[in-house]
Protein backbone atom coordinates (compact mmCIF):
# COMPACT_ATOMS: atom_id res chain seq x y z
CA UNK A 1 0.00 0.00 0.00
CA UNK A 2 2.84 2.37 0.82
CA UNK A 3 4.12 2.08 -2.72
CA UNK A 4 0.69 3.08 -4.01
CA UNK A 5 0.75 6.25 -1.92
CA UNK A 6 4.29 6.93 -3.09
CA UNK A 7 3.18 6.47 -6.70
CA UNK A 8 0.33 8.91 -6.20
CA UNK A 9 2.73 11.40 -4.63
CA UNK A 10 5.12 10.90 -7.53
CA UNK A 11 2.39 11.80 -10.00
CA UNK A 12 2.14 15.20 -8.34
CA UNK A 13 5.84 15.79 -7.80
CA UNK A 14 7.94 17.34 -10.56
CA UNK A 15 9.72 14.85 -12.75
CA UNK A 16 13.20 13.84 -11.70
CA UNK A 17 14.48 13.74 -15.26
CA UNK A 18 17.23 16.07 -16.42
CA UNK A 19 16.39 17.00 -19.98
CA UNK A 20 19.88 16.40 -21.25
CA UNK A 21 20.84 16.94 -24.13
CA UNK A 22 17.88 18.95 -25.41
CA UNK A 23 17.20 22.03 -23.34
CA UNK A 24 18.81 20.98 -20.12
CA UNK A 25 22.52 21.28 -20.41
CA UNK A 26 22.77 24.06 -17.86
CA UNK A 27 20.92 21.90 -15.35
CA UNK A 28 23.76 19.43 -15.45
CA UNK A 29 26.05 19.87 -12.48
CA UNK A 30 29.47 18.43 -12.95
CA UNK A 31 31.62 18.75 -9.84
CA UNK A 32 34.97 20.48 -10.01
CA UNK A 33 37.08 17.39 -9.57
CA UNK A 34 35.45 15.47 -12.39
CA UNK A 35 37.84 13.57 -14.64
CA UNK A 36 36.67 14.22 -18.16
CA UNK A 37 38.72 14.73 -21.28
CA UNK A 38 42.29 15.70 -20.41
CA UNK A 39 44.12 18.84 -21.45
CA UNK A 40 47.82 19.51 -21.81
CA UNK A 41 49.53 22.79 -21.00
CA UNK A 42 52.15 22.70 -23.71
CA UNK A 43 54.30 25.43 -22.11
CA UNK A 44 54.60 23.46 -18.88
CA UNK A 45 55.35 20.09 -20.46
CA UNK A 46 59.03 19.21 -20.37
CA UNK A 47 58.78 15.95 -22.27
CA UNK A 48 59.90 13.73 -19.42
CA UNK A 49 57.75 10.77 -20.66
CA UNK A 50 56.83 9.69 -17.12
CA UNK A 51 53.15 9.86 -18.01
CA UNK A 52 53.71 7.38 -20.82
CA UNK A 53 55.54 5.00 -18.51
CA UNK A 54 52.88 5.15 -15.82
CA UNK A 55 49.79 4.98 -18.00
CA UNK A 56 48.12 1.64 -17.19
CA UNK A 57 46.51 1.26 -20.60
CA UNK A 58 49.21 2.78 -22.83
CA UNK A 59 46.85 5.49 -23.93
CA UNK A 60 49.72 7.95 -24.16
CA UNK A 61 52.35 8.01 -26.85
CA UNK A 62 55.20 10.46 -27.07
CA UNK A 63 55.72 12.40 -30.27
CA UNK A 64 58.15 15.14 -31.16
CA UNK A 65 57.04 18.59 -32.28
CA UNK A 66 58.92 21.89 -32.72
CA UNK A 67 59.46 22.27 -29.00
CA UNK A 68 60.56 18.77 -28.35
CA UNK A 69 58.90 15.70 -26.87
CA UNK A 70 55.25 15.80 -25.88
CA UNK A 71 52.48 13.30 -25.09
CA UNK A 72 49.42 12.55 -27.22
CA UNK A 73 46.40 11.04 -25.45
CA UNK A 74 44.22 8.44 -27.11
CA UNK A 75 40.74 8.58 -25.67
CA UNK A 76 39.76 5.19 -27.06
CA UNK A 77 42.19 3.53 -24.67
CA UNK A 78 42.15 6.00 -21.81
CA UNK A 79 40.63 4.82 -18.52
CA UNK A 80 40.34 8.35 -17.09
CA UNK A 81 42.12 7.15 -13.97
CA UNK A 82 44.18 10.31 -13.45
CA UNK A 83 47.54 8.62 -12.97
CA UNK A 84 49.16 10.83 -15.63
CA UNK A 85 48.07 13.89 -13.72
CA UNK A 86 49.47 12.37 -10.52
CA UNK A 87 52.75 11.47 -12.14
CA UNK A 88 53.33 14.71 -14.03
CA UNK A 89 56.19 16.56 -12.28
CA UNK A 90 55.23 19.98 -13.72
CA UNK A 91 51.42 19.73 -13.45
CA UNK A 92 51.07 20.14 -17.20
CA UNK A 93 48.25 17.62 -17.46
CA UNK A 94 44.80 18.52 -16.18
CA UNK A 95 41.31 17.16 -16.54
CA UNK A 96 38.43 19.17 -17.96
CA UNK A 97 34.73 18.65 -17.37
CA UNK A 98 34.14 17.67 -20.97
CA UNK A 99 32.55 14.23 -21.10
CA UNK A 100 30.89 14.35 -24.51
CA UNK A 101 33.56 12.43 -26.34
CA UNK A 102 31.38 10.03 -28.32
CA UNK A 103 32.49 9.73 -31.89
CA UNK A 104 31.90 7.81 -35.11
CA UNK A 105 35.53 7.16 -35.78
CA UNK A 106 38.15 5.74 -33.49
CA UNK A 107 40.93 7.67 -35.17
CA UNK A 108 39.50 11.04 -34.24
CA UNK A 109 39.53 10.23 -30.54
CA UNK A 110 42.80 11.75 -29.48
CA UNK A 111 43.92 14.80 -27.57
CA UNK A 112 46.90 16.59 -29.00
Amino acid sequence: MSIFLEACRSLLKPKATLRYPLGGKDLLQIPDGYRGKMALKREACIGCTICEKDCPSSAITIITDQKGKRPVFYLDRCMFCGQCKESCPTKAISFTKDFENASYDRKTMEVR
Binding site: I3, F4, A7, S10, K15, R19, L22
Partner: protein, 324 residues
Protein backbone atom coordinates in the same frame (compact mmCIF):
# COMPACT_ATOMS: atom_id res chain seq x y z
CA UNK B 1 -25.86 5.56 -49.85
CA UNK B 2 -26.27 2.71 -47.47
CA UNK B 3 -23.24 0.97 -48.91
CA UNK B 4 -21.11 4.07 -48.54
CA UNK B 5 -22.18 4.65 -44.97
CA UNK B 6 -21.61 1.08 -43.92
CA UNK B 7 -18.23 1.04 -45.66
CA UNK B 8 -17.37 4.22 -43.82
CA UNK B 9 -18.51 2.64 -40.58
CA UNK B 10 -16.55 -0.51 -41.20
CA UNK B 11 -13.27 1.02 -42.27
CA UNK B 12 -13.07 4.52 -40.84
CA UNK B 13 -15.36 5.30 -37.96
CA UNK B 14 -15.98 3.46 -35.73
CA UNK B 15 -14.22 0.80 -37.71
CA UNK B 16 -10.69 -0.34 -38.31
CA UNK B 17 -8.90 3.00 -38.68
CA UNK B 18 -10.47 4.47 -35.57
CA UNK B 19 -9.56 1.46 -33.47
CA UNK B 20 -6.04 1.27 -34.79
CA UNK B 21 -5.42 4.94 -34.06
CA UNK B 22 -7.04 4.47 -30.67
CA UNK B 23 -4.71 1.56 -29.93
CA UNK B 24 -1.71 3.80 -30.62
CA UNK B 25 -3.16 6.47 -28.36
CA UNK B 26 -3.71 3.90 -25.64
CA UNK B 27 -0.12 2.71 -25.81
CA UNK B 28 1.00 6.29 -25.46
CA UNK B 29 -1.27 6.97 -22.46
CA UNK B 30 -0.13 3.74 -20.86
CA UNK B 31 3.55 4.50 -21.29
CA UNK B 32 3.25 8.11 -20.21
CA UNK B 33 1.32 7.36 -17.04
CA UNK B 34 3.56 4.45 -16.19
CA UNK B 35 6.55 6.75 -16.57
CA UNK B 36 4.92 9.52 -14.54
CA UNK B 37 4.33 7.11 -11.67
CA UNK B 38 8.05 6.44 -11.69
CA UNK B 39 8.87 10.16 -11.83
CA UNK B 40 10.05 9.84 -15.41
CA UNK B 41 8.84 11.66 -18.48
CA UNK B 42 8.33 8.83 -20.92
CA UNK B 43 8.37 9.34 -24.68
CA UNK B 44 8.88 13.02 -25.34
CA UNK B 45 10.55 13.98 -28.59
CA UNK B 46 8.52 12.08 -31.19
CA UNK B 47 5.73 14.40 -32.16
CA UNK B 48 4.08 16.67 -29.60
CA UNK B 49 4.71 15.15 -26.16
CA UNK B 50 5.77 11.94 -27.82
CA UNK B 51 2.29 11.22 -29.19
CA UNK B 52 3.69 9.73 -32.37
CA UNK B 53 5.98 7.32 -30.51
CA UNK B 54 3.84 4.20 -30.95
CA UNK B 55 3.42 5.02 -34.64
CA UNK B 56 7.17 5.42 -35.04
CA UNK B 57 7.70 2.06 -33.35
CA UNK B 58 5.15 0.49 -35.66
CA UNK B 59 6.62 1.92 -38.86
CA UNK B 60 10.12 1.01 -37.81
CA UNK B 61 9.15 -2.60 -37.14
CA UNK B 62 7.22 -2.82 -40.41
CA UNK B 63 10.29 -1.68 -42.31
CA UNK B 64 12.70 -4.00 -40.56
CA UNK B 65 13.96 -7.29 -41.87
CA UNK B 66 11.60 -10.15 -41.20
CA UNK B 67 13.28 -13.22 -39.78
CA UNK B 68 11.83 -16.71 -39.53
CA UNK B 69 13.79 -19.13 -37.38
CA UNK B 70 15.05 -22.18 -39.21
CA UNK B 71 13.45 -24.80 -37.00
CA UNK B 72 10.12 -23.11 -36.51
CA UNK B 73 6.83 -24.37 -37.87
CA UNK B 74 6.76 -21.77 -40.61
CA UNK B 75 3.10 -21.86 -41.58
CA UNK B 76 1.80 -21.35 -38.07
CA UNK B 77 4.65 -19.03 -37.10
CA UNK B 78 3.94 -16.69 -40.01
CA UNK B 79 0.17 -16.74 -39.81
CA UNK B 80 -0.31 -16.21 -36.08
CA UNK B 81 0.38 -12.44 -36.06
CA UNK B 82 -2.04 -11.86 -38.91
CA UNK B 83 -4.70 -13.99 -37.26
CA UNK B 84 -4.24 -12.10 -33.99
CA UNK B 85 -4.75 -8.76 -35.70
CA UNK B 86 -7.70 -9.99 -37.72
CA UNK B 87 -9.35 -11.52 -34.68
CA UNK B 88 -9.00 -8.39 -32.63
CA UNK B 89 -10.16 -6.07 -35.41
CA UNK B 90 -13.22 -8.23 -35.97
CA UNK B 91 -14.24 -8.47 -32.37
CA UNK B 92 -13.78 -4.71 -32.01
CA UNK B 93 -16.76 -4.19 -34.29
CA UNK B 94 -19.24 -5.26 -31.64
CA UNK B 95 -18.20 -2.40 -29.37
CA UNK B 96 -20.78 0.36 -29.21
CA UNK B 97 -18.96 3.62 -29.84
CA UNK B 98 -21.44 6.08 -31.28
CA UNK B 99 -24.71 4.59 -30.16
CA UNK B 100 -26.33 1.66 -28.44
CA UNK B 101 -24.89 -0.90 -30.78
CA UNK B 102 -21.64 -1.34 -32.62
CA UNK B 103 -21.07 -1.79 -36.33
CA UNK B 104 -22.30 -5.32 -36.07
CA UNK B 105 -24.73 -6.45 -33.45
CA UNK B 106 -26.50 -9.74 -32.99
CA UNK B 107 -27.92 -11.82 -30.20
CA UNK B 108 -25.08 -13.56 -28.45
CA UNK B 109 -22.30 -11.18 -29.35
CA UNK B 110 -21.18 -11.22 -25.70
CA UNK B 111 -20.43 -14.88 -26.14
CA UNK B 112 -18.57 -14.04 -29.33
CA UNK B 113 -16.43 -11.61 -27.35
CA UNK B 114 -15.60 -14.25 -24.72
CA UNK B 115 -14.78 -16.76 -27.43
CA UNK B 116 -12.48 -14.26 -29.11
CA UNK B 117 -10.61 -13.68 -25.86
CA UNK B 118 -10.01 -17.38 -25.39
CA UNK B 119 -9.04 -17.73 -29.02
CA UNK B 120 -6.46 -15.01 -28.53
CA UNK B 121 -4.87 -17.07 -25.79
CA UNK B 122 -4.80 -20.11 -28.02
CA UNK B 123 -3.11 -18.03 -30.72
CA UNK B 124 -0.51 -16.99 -28.14
CA UNK B 125 0.05 -20.63 -27.36
CA UNK B 126 0.43 -21.42 -31.07
CA UNK B 127 2.86 -18.53 -31.50
CA UNK B 128 5.06 -19.81 -28.71
CA UNK B 129 4.74 -23.42 -29.70
CA UNK B 130 5.60 -22.90 -33.35
CA UNK B 131 8.79 -21.00 -32.49
CA UNK B 132 10.42 -24.23 -31.28
CA UNK B 133 12.88 -22.63 -28.91
CA UNK B 134 12.96 -22.96 -25.13
CA UNK B 135 11.82 -19.52 -24.01
CA UNK B 136 8.77 -19.29 -26.30
CA UNK B 137 7.83 -22.85 -25.39
CA UNK B 138 7.90 -22.02 -21.72
CA UNK B 139 5.99 -18.82 -22.39
CA UNK B 140 3.32 -20.70 -24.33
CA UNK B 141 3.00 -23.21 -21.54
CA UNK B 142 2.57 -20.41 -19.04
CA UNK B 143 -0.01 -18.65 -21.23
CA UNK B 144 -2.20 -21.75 -21.19
CA UNK B 145 -1.75 -22.16 -17.44
CA UNK B 146 -2.74 -18.56 -17.00
CA UNK B 147 -5.84 -19.19 -19.09
CA UNK B 148 -6.84 -21.87 -16.58
CA UNK B 149 -6.68 -19.32 -13.82
CA UNK B 150 -8.51 -16.27 -15.10
CA UNK B 151 -10.88 -17.52 -17.80
CA UNK B 152 -13.62 -18.72 -15.44
CA UNK B 153 -13.78 -15.57 -13.29
CA UNK B 154 -13.79 -13.49 -16.45
CA UNK B 155 -16.73 -15.38 -17.90
CA UNK B 156 -18.63 -15.43 -14.63
CA UNK B 157 -18.24 -11.71 -14.10
CA UNK B 158 -19.54 -11.07 -17.62
CA UNK B 159 -22.34 -13.51 -16.92
CA UNK B 160 -23.32 -11.38 -13.94
CA UNK B 161 -23.91 -8.44 -16.27
CA UNK B 162 -25.90 -10.55 -18.66
CA UNK B 163 -28.10 -11.86 -15.84
CA UNK B 164 -28.71 -8.38 -14.53
CA UNK B 165 -29.91 -7.08 -17.85
CA UNK B 166 -31.43 -10.35 -18.95
CA UNK B 167 -29.76 -10.45 -22.30
CA UNK B 168 -26.66 -11.72 -24.05
CA UNK B 169 -26.52 -8.87 -26.51
CA UNK B 170 -24.17 -5.93 -25.98
CA UNK B 171 -26.69 -3.35 -27.22
CA UNK B 172 -29.33 -4.69 -24.84
CA UNK B 173 -26.95 -4.48 -21.88
CA UNK B 174 -26.10 -0.90 -22.82
CA UNK B 175 -29.71 0.19 -23.23
CA UNK B 176 -30.66 -1.58 -19.99
CA UNK B 177 -27.97 0.41 -18.19
CA UNK B 178 -29.22 3.63 -19.79
CA UNK B 179 -32.61 3.08 -18.19
CA UNK B 180 -31.66 1.32 -14.93
CA UNK B 181 -28.36 2.94 -14.02
CA UNK B 182 -24.83 1.67 -14.53
CA UNK B 183 -24.04 -1.88 -13.60
CA UNK B 184 -21.19 -0.79 -11.39
CA UNK B 185 -23.65 0.79 -8.94
CA UNK B 186 -25.46 -2.49 -8.38
CA UNK B 187 -24.27 -5.83 -7.11
CA UNK B 188 -21.90 -5.86 -10.07
CA UNK B 189 -19.35 -3.77 -8.20
CA UNK B 190 -17.71 -6.98 -7.07
CA UNK B 191 -17.97 -8.30 -10.61
CA UNK B 192 -16.27 -5.17 -11.88
CA UNK B 193 -13.32 -5.72 -9.55
CA UNK B 194 -13.03 -9.35 -10.60
CA UNK B 195 -13.28 -8.33 -14.23
CA UNK B 196 -10.44 -5.83 -13.85
CA UNK B 197 -8.16 -8.40 -12.23
CA UNK B 198 -9.03 -10.98 -14.85
CA UNK B 199 -8.37 -8.71 -17.81
CA UNK B 200 -5.06 -7.71 -16.28
CA UNK B 201 -4.17 -11.37 -16.60
CA UNK B 202 -5.72 -11.69 -20.05
CA UNK B 203 -3.67 -8.71 -21.22
CA UNK B 204 -0.53 -10.17 -19.64
CA UNK B 205 0.37 -7.08 -17.70
CA UNK B 206 2.08 -6.81 -14.31
CA UNK B 207 1.32 -8.48 -11.87
CA UNK B 208 0.31 -11.23 -14.29
CA UNK B 209 2.77 -10.72 -17.14
CA UNK B 210 3.98 -14.23 -16.55
CA UNK B 211 4.03 -15.51 -20.18
CA UNK B 212 6.41 -12.75 -21.26
CA UNK B 213 8.27 -12.10 -18.02
CA UNK B 214 11.38 -10.36 -19.25
CA UNK B 215 13.64 -11.28 -16.36
CA UNK B 216 12.78 -14.94 -16.53
CA UNK B 217 12.11 -16.00 -20.09
CA UNK B 218 13.28 -12.97 -22.14
CA UNK B 219 10.16 -12.00 -24.08
CA UNK B 220 8.28 -15.25 -23.59
CA UNK B 221 6.26 -16.36 -26.57
CA UNK B 222 7.31 -13.28 -28.56
CA UNK B 223 11.05 -13.95 -28.28
CA UNK B 224 11.57 -15.21 -31.82
CA UNK B 225 9.36 -12.70 -33.59
CA UNK B 226 10.88 -9.78 -35.40
CA UNK B 227 10.12 -7.16 -38.02
CA UNK B 228 6.59 -6.84 -39.29
CA UNK B 229 5.35 -9.90 -37.46
CA UNK B 230 6.36 -8.28 -34.19
CA UNK B 231 4.71 -5.06 -35.32
CA UNK B 232 1.46 -6.92 -35.92
CA UNK B 233 1.69 -8.71 -32.59
CA UNK B 234 2.28 -5.45 -30.78
CA UNK B 235 -0.67 -3.90 -32.58
CA UNK B 236 -2.88 -6.87 -31.77
CA UNK B 237 -1.94 -6.57 -28.11
CA UNK B 238 -2.68 -2.86 -28.10
CA UNK B 239 -6.00 -3.53 -29.79
CA UNK B 240 -6.69 -6.11 -27.12
CA UNK B 241 -5.95 -3.47 -24.51
CA UNK B 242 -8.44 -1.12 -26.18
CA UNK B 243 -10.98 -3.90 -26.50
CA UNK B 244 -10.73 -4.96 -22.89
CA UNK B 245 -11.02 -1.48 -21.47
CA UNK B 246 -13.85 -0.67 -23.87
CA UNK B 247 -15.63 -3.88 -22.87
CA UNK B 248 -15.28 -2.96 -19.21
CA UNK B 249 -16.70 0.47 -19.97
CA UNK B 250 -19.53 -1.05 -21.97
CA UNK B 251 -20.52 -3.69 -19.49
CA UNK B 252 -20.11 -1.72 -16.28
CA UNK B 253 -20.03 1.99 -17.03
CA UNK B 254 -22.97 2.22 -19.39
CA UNK B 255 -21.08 2.21 -22.67
CA UNK B 256 -21.10 5.41 -24.68
CA UNK B 257 -24.47 6.49 -23.29
CA UNK B 258 -24.63 9.55 -21.13
CA UNK B 259 -26.38 12.88 -20.72
CA UNK B 260 -26.47 14.77 -23.98
CA UNK B 261 -28.99 16.84 -25.90
CA UNK B 262 -30.51 14.88 -28.74
CA UNK B 263 -28.82 16.86 -31.50
CA UNK B 264 -25.34 16.45 -30.01
CA UNK B 265 -25.45 12.68 -29.49
CA UNK B 266 -23.28 12.03 -32.55
CA UNK B 267 -20.37 13.88 -30.93
CA UNK B 268 -21.08 13.39 -27.25
CA UNK B 269 -21.33 9.61 -27.32
CA UNK B 270 -17.91 8.95 -28.83
CA UNK B 271 -16.46 11.44 -26.35
CA UNK B 272 -18.13 9.62 -23.45
CA UNK B 273 -16.83 6.36 -24.87
CA UNK B 274 -13.30 7.71 -24.97
CA UNK B 275 -13.48 9.17 -21.47
CA UNK B 276 -14.77 5.95 -19.95
CA UNK B 277 -12.31 3.67 -21.72
CA UNK B 278 -9.38 5.91 -20.84
CA UNK B 279 -10.55 5.91 -17.21
CA UNK B 280 -10.44 2.11 -17.23
CA UNK B 281 -7.01 2.23 -18.87
CA UNK B 282 -5.73 4.52 -16.12
CA UNK B 283 -6.86 2.04 -13.48
CA UNK B 284 -5.17 -0.78 -15.37
CA UNK B 285 -1.93 1.19 -15.65
CA UNK B 286 -1.90 2.06 -11.97
CA UNK B 287 -2.37 -1.60 -11.10
CA UNK B 288 0.55 -2.36 -13.40
CA UNK B 289 2.70 0.17 -11.58
CA UNK B 290 2.23 -0.86 -7.99
CA UNK B 291 2.71 -4.61 -7.98
CA UNK B 292 5.47 -7.10 -8.43
CA UNK B 293 4.99 -10.03 -10.73
CA UNK B 294 3.53 -13.12 -9.07
CA UNK B 295 4.60 -16.62 -9.90
CA UNK B 296 2.45 -18.78 -12.13
CA UNK B 297 1.51 -21.24 -9.40
CA UNK B 298 0.68 -18.37 -7.05
CA UNK B 299 -1.49 -16.83 -9.76
CA UNK B 300 -3.45 -20.01 -10.41
CA UNK B 301 -3.82 -20.66 -6.69
CA UNK B 302 -5.02 -17.10 -6.17
CA UNK B 303 -7.56 -17.44 -8.98
CA UNK B 304 -8.98 -20.72 -7.73
CA UNK B 305 -8.88 -19.84 -4.06
CA UNK B 306 -10.33 -16.34 -4.18
CA UNK B 307 -11.42 -15.18 -7.62
CA UNK B 308 -13.61 -18.10 -8.60
CA UNK B 309 -15.57 -18.39 -5.33
CA UNK B 310 -16.00 -14.62 -5.36
CA UNK B 311 -17.30 -14.65 -8.90
CA UNK B 312 -19.77 -17.41 -8.06
CA UNK B 313 -20.87 -15.32 -5.09
CA UNK B 314 -21.28 -12.38 -7.42
CA UNK B 315 -23.46 -14.35 -9.82
CA UNK B 316 -25.56 -15.61 -6.91
CA UNK B 317 -25.95 -12.09 -5.56
CA UNK B 318 -27.05 -10.86 -8.96
CA UNK B 319 -29.56 -13.66 -9.26
CA UNK B 320 -31.05 -12.89 -5.84
CA UNK B 321 -31.13 -9.20 -6.60
CA UNK B 322 -32.77 -9.93 -9.93
CA UNK B 323 -35.43 -12.15 -8.33
CA UNK B 324 -36.30 -9.55 -5.76
Amino acid sequence: MDVISSTFQLFIFPGFLFFILLSFLFEWVDRKLYAAMQRRIGPLYTGPLGLLQPIADFIKLIKKEDLTPKYSDKKIFNSVPLLMCALMLTVMLILPVAGESGVISFTGDVIFAIAAMTLFCILIFLAGFSSMSPYPLLGAERAVLLLLGFEIPLMLSIAGCCIASGSIEVSAIVSWQASHGWNIFGPQLLGFAIFLVAIQAELERIPFDIPDAEQEIVAGWMTEYSGRKLALIRMARNLELVFMSALAATLYLGGPMGLAPHWAEGIAFPVYFLLKTVAILLILTIIRGIFARVRIDQMVAFAWRYLIPLSFLQVALTLIWRLI
